[in-house]
């Protein structure tokens, strides 16, 4: 086997967060191979690949390309050695055209002056040659996410990448787009290119990878041929123990309707509408999960429901009261709790201490304050209560919280939001970026709340999470709720089609055919 890429004994320790991201990791990949790197969040996969691409310098270890040791200290070095990387968060300039983005940094020019037309023609030819046609004059802010990814891939192909590193490439694609993408990968590999891709979606690994390397806690815990392992085995290797892929829960006992949203029209970035006539309802004692590829209006819908975004049309009713234009505080007083998508910027204020974070939703009430003046003893008690009840480690009353881990931070958010037994809990990506233990905890907590009678609106891009937790599932696509199904009727195939824009009838007939 001719090895194209070899990483030997890579070690990387991050001072700033005191984390050993890579602990003596070795990896070797053959030419033309599709090699997957799997692992949970935070296990060092991206760091390893960032080292290969020159974004991060390792403390020790070496990299060999085609058998010869190389020094890669900057992406330019990596590019020179034929390595290209497509990042999880696209690095494109919104106001530039596709051609301008692809040629960024290597623009053909004479004495500094660029010929725009030549550039665009060159890009068109390039794209066609790889079977990935694009319109080079469109601006990035005007095109779809799937197309943006194509631009990113063309960007590295333009730089003659022979080794392509793809970081979580399917995170933002619909199931259909994923299939399309996997085809592209196969084609590129057949053309002699080596593909390294980072993912935590094991189904994709089975679908396309030749070999897979599993990372856990910064170490390479094994490289196997993809065919030799089942998904269950891969998952176990990833977490080091037997994993239950389902959540224990009793069937739901839904009662009265708590939240009702009707024909909502909500504006998104730049005035364009993000929610375009969405309707749904959530009853007490049930979990309604909203499935959908990120970017289809879920965030804006949640913001509209909690009061952080203006509603341009339609109505929202909470426990029978019209709250369409109500303030955040009014909705919270009526029993709404919100676990936001971004705990670090929205759910918490990392510049201050535990007490001030914990009291933000209730500071205006007794006993925390009286006629505008604080009484700190009850605040401290509340903080301690949350720390105890939710077992938040390393958090102390009166101490800053910015050094806590994601899991512990999320526990603080949960503790605060669930205090006072809210009637409606809106949870937006509640387990994003958390380790398995924390994910389990969050799931358990949400189910407990549901059993106590709360209505839970869960938004997640992880289909597994939606399927595991929800009693009913709504699918959002292009700003609308295209279907609401009972859990029993929802299969991954059906949901996938709905998430990609099929009509309900089409999805149902297609899935019937699939299971027949």
């Amino acid at each position: 086997m001719t090895t194209t890429v070899e990483m030997q004994h890579i070690r990387k320790y991050f001072d700033s967060s005191q984390v050993l991201a890579c602990d003596d990791v070795s990896l070797s990949v053959a030419k033309g191979e599709v090699h997957a790197i799997v692992g949970e969040n935070g296990t060092g996969k991206t760091t390893l690949m960032s080292i290969l691409y020159g974004l991060v310098t390792p403390d020790s270890g070496q990299i060999l390309i085609d058998g010869a040791p190389v020094r890669i200290t900057h992406p330019n070095d990596a590019i020179r050695h034929g390595i290209g990387m497509v990042h999880q968060h696209f690095k494109l300039v919104p106001s530039f055209t596709i051609a301008e983005n692809i040629m960024l940094g290597i623009e053909p020019n004479s004495a500094g002056f660029i010929d725009g037309k030549d550039e665009a023609d060159g890009v068109r030819k390039l794209a066609d040659s790889f079977g990935l046609p694009v319109n080079p004059d469109l601006r990035i802010r005007e095109i779809s996410v799937g197309m943006q990814q194509r631009v990113e891939i063309l960007k590295i192909l333009q730089r003659n990448a022979q080794v392509l590193i793809l970081d979580e490439p399917t995170a933002v694609l619909t199931p259909q787009e994923v299939r399309e993408f996997l085809n592209v990968v196969r084609r590129l590999a057949e053309g002699g290119r080596t593909i390294l891709f980072i993912t935590h979606k094991l189904a994709e690994v089975k679908a396309i990878a030749d070999r897979v390397t599993t990372m856990r806690r910064g170490r390479n815990v094994g490289t196997h041929y993809a065919n030799d392992q089942t998904i269950r085995e891969m998952a176990n290797l990833m977490v080091g123990r037997v994993v239950t892929l389902t959540v224990e829960k009793t069937p739901a006992k839904p009662a009265a309707t708590v939240l009702e949203a009707h024909n909502l029209l909500v504006g998104g970035a730049g005035g364009m509408p993000a929610v375009f006539g969405a309707s749904l309802d959530v009853r007490s004692g049930e979990i309604l999960g909203i499935a959908g590829v990120s970017g289809n209006g879920q965030t804006e819908l949640v913001e509209a429901i909690v009061g952080m975004r203006a509603v341009d049309g339609g109505q929202i009713t909470l426990l029978g009261n019209d709250v369409t234009h109500a303030l955040v505080r009014e909705r919270r007083d009526a029993g709404l709790a919100h676990i936001p998508e971004d705990r670090m910027t929205t759910g918490l204020n990392l510049t201050t201490n535990l007490d001030e974070n914990v009291v933000v939703t209730s500071y205006q009430n007794k006993p925390y304050s009286r006629s505008g003046i604080f009484d700190f003893a009850p605040v401290r008690k509340l903080a301690q209560e949350i720390v105890d009840k939710f077992a938040v480690k390393s958090a102390r009353v009166g101490e800053p919280i910015k050094t806590l881990s994601g899991g512990n931070l999320q526990k603080i958010v949960l503790g605060r939001e669930l205090k006072g037994d809210p009637k409606l809990i809106v949870a937006n990506q509640p387990t994003r970026g958390l380790d398995v233990g924390s994910i389990e905890f969050v799931h358990k907590t949400l189910i407990e709340a549901r059993d106590k009678g709360a209505a839970v609106l869960l938004v997640s891009v992880e289909l597994d999470e939606i399927l595991a937790l929800s009693d009913r599932i709504a699918v959002m696509f292009a700003g609308k709720v295209v279907a609401v199904l009972d859990r029993a009727e929802a299969t991954e195939e059906k949901l996938g089609l709905l998430m990609a824009g099929s009509s309900l009838e089409h999805a149902e007939t297609a899935s019937e055919k699939a299971s027949a």
């Binding site: 900057h74 992406p75 330019n76 590019i79 990387m85 990042h87 968060h89 690095k91 494109l92 300039v93 919104p94 106001s95 530039f96 301008e100 983005n101 960024l104 940094g105 290597i106 623009e107 020019n109 500094g112 002056f113 660029i114 779809s144 799937g146 197309m147 960007k155 619909t174 259909q176 787009e177 029209l265 504006g267 730049g270 005035g271 364009m272 509408p273 375009f276 006539g277 341009d312 049309g313 696509f477 292009a478 609308k480 990609a500 824009g501 099929s502 009509s503």
Partner: protein, 356 residues
């Protein structure tokens, strides 16, 4: 008010254009010609200053020390001429270079030593304001103003063909070289920003640092360069103030023009050509204030007139903000209207944007 604007959008737009053209014609032909000439002349520091602001801002760094750099340029121009007695053009060059050096120092302090941008700008502006007066007194023994026979103001230039054109020729010809340089700079900056590789890199750095970094563009180098150029333009603007029309340096010569220049850049959405025209407007407001002061019969208090440019600046700031707000609001209302149609289409089984 928003709904009023929305309902009568089209007619309002027409009215605005007609009004705009009318005002323009009124200004061009209604006002005395020397007032217009002053306007063009006095707009120069705003032109150069706003170019300085937008070059830096497009690279992702808000240059809040433009006023200080302008003042520095003004001082250096005078100081150099004082010592050497050379042709005033040397003063302009010296001021530009000095501004560039200051810009470079500013860039290093901000990018390498990571000082908070606003505090750094405050410190730099404060320092220049004090240091110029300090040196004026200690090195030159001057109180309040620094003037000397060896300091000459820039000569005016008569453009050969253009000066022959009736009316317009009088407006365009007969200015000093910094004025013409400022016009040239507008074109130069535009070309560099939109037609060269470097300009594209600069804009990329300002819009999406991560994208630029990922293709190997050296962010720090681009920003240092941008700030240096920004400083040079500001320095050049300063030279106009001290030796363009006058031939002396006065304590606090810039009088807040640096800040107005930043506003011009914001108002023009960081585009060179709109910045140029906006600067003309501010030049007019400044010229007006002097003109009205020279008309005692109108009995207008000089202090209030001096505040004219400032009031204009506030007006501009508010206009920019309003423009952004209303355009966004209007877009949303637009879609609310279309929404009804979309819903219809949905019911007929056509989905918007399925797949790719």
């Amino acid at each position: 008010m928003i709904s009023f604007i929305e309902t009568y959008q089209r007619p309002l737009r027409i009215v605005a254009i007609i009004a705009g053209v009318a005002v323009l014609l009124l200004i061009l032909f209604g006002l005395p010609i020397n007032l217009l000439q002053s306007s063009i002349r006095l707009s120069t520091p705003y032109v150069l200053g706003s170019l300085a602001a937008l070059v830096a801002s497009r690279a992702g760094v808000l240059n809040l020390a433009i006023d200080g750099k302008m003042l520095f340029g003004a001082f250096i121009a005078v100081a150099v001429l004082f010592h050497t007695g050379y042709d005033p053009i040397v003063g302009v060059i010296a001021a530009t270079v000095a501004g560039g050096v200051l810009g470079l120092i500013f860039a290093v302090l901000y990018l390498r030593i990571r000082i908070n941008l606003v505090i750094l700008a405050i410190a730099v502006n404060l320092f220049i304001a004090n240091a110029t007066v300090y040196f004026m007194r200690t090195l030159y023994g001057a109180f309040g103003t620094l003037a000397d026979p060896s300091i000459r103001s820039l000569p005016t230039i008569d453009l050969p063909i253009i000066s022959g054109i009736p009316y317009v020729g009088q407006l365009l010809s007969g200015h000093n070289i910094v004025v013409y340089l400022s016009w040239i700079m507008v074109a130069v900056v535009w070309i560099i920003l939109f037609r060269t590789q470097f300009g594209r890199h600069l804009r990329a750095v300002g819009e999406n640092k991560a994208a630029a970094e990922s293709v190997g563009i050296n962010i720090t180098r681009v920003q240092i360069f941008a700030l240096t150029v920004s400083g040079m333009l500001a320095g050049m603007a300063g030279s106009f103030l001290s030796i363009g029309v006058l031939s002396q340096f006065v304590d606090n010569m810039t009088d807040g023009r640096g800040w107005t220049a930043i506003t011009v850049s914001l108002f023009a959405f960081e585009q060179p050509v709109p910045a140029f025209f906006t600067s003309l407007f501010f030049g007019l407001s400044e010229a007006l204030s002097f003109y009205l002061q020279g008309r005692p019969e109108l009995q207008l208090p000089p202090d209030l007139l001096l505040a004219l440019p400032q009031l204009a600046t506030i007006f501009a700031l508010v206009l920019v903000a309003l423009r952004i707000r209303t355009s966004e609001l209007l877009k949303r209302r637009d879609f609310a209207g279309q929404f009804g149609q979309e819903l219809e289409k949905l019911r007929q089984g056509k989905l918007a944007g399925a797949g790719d």
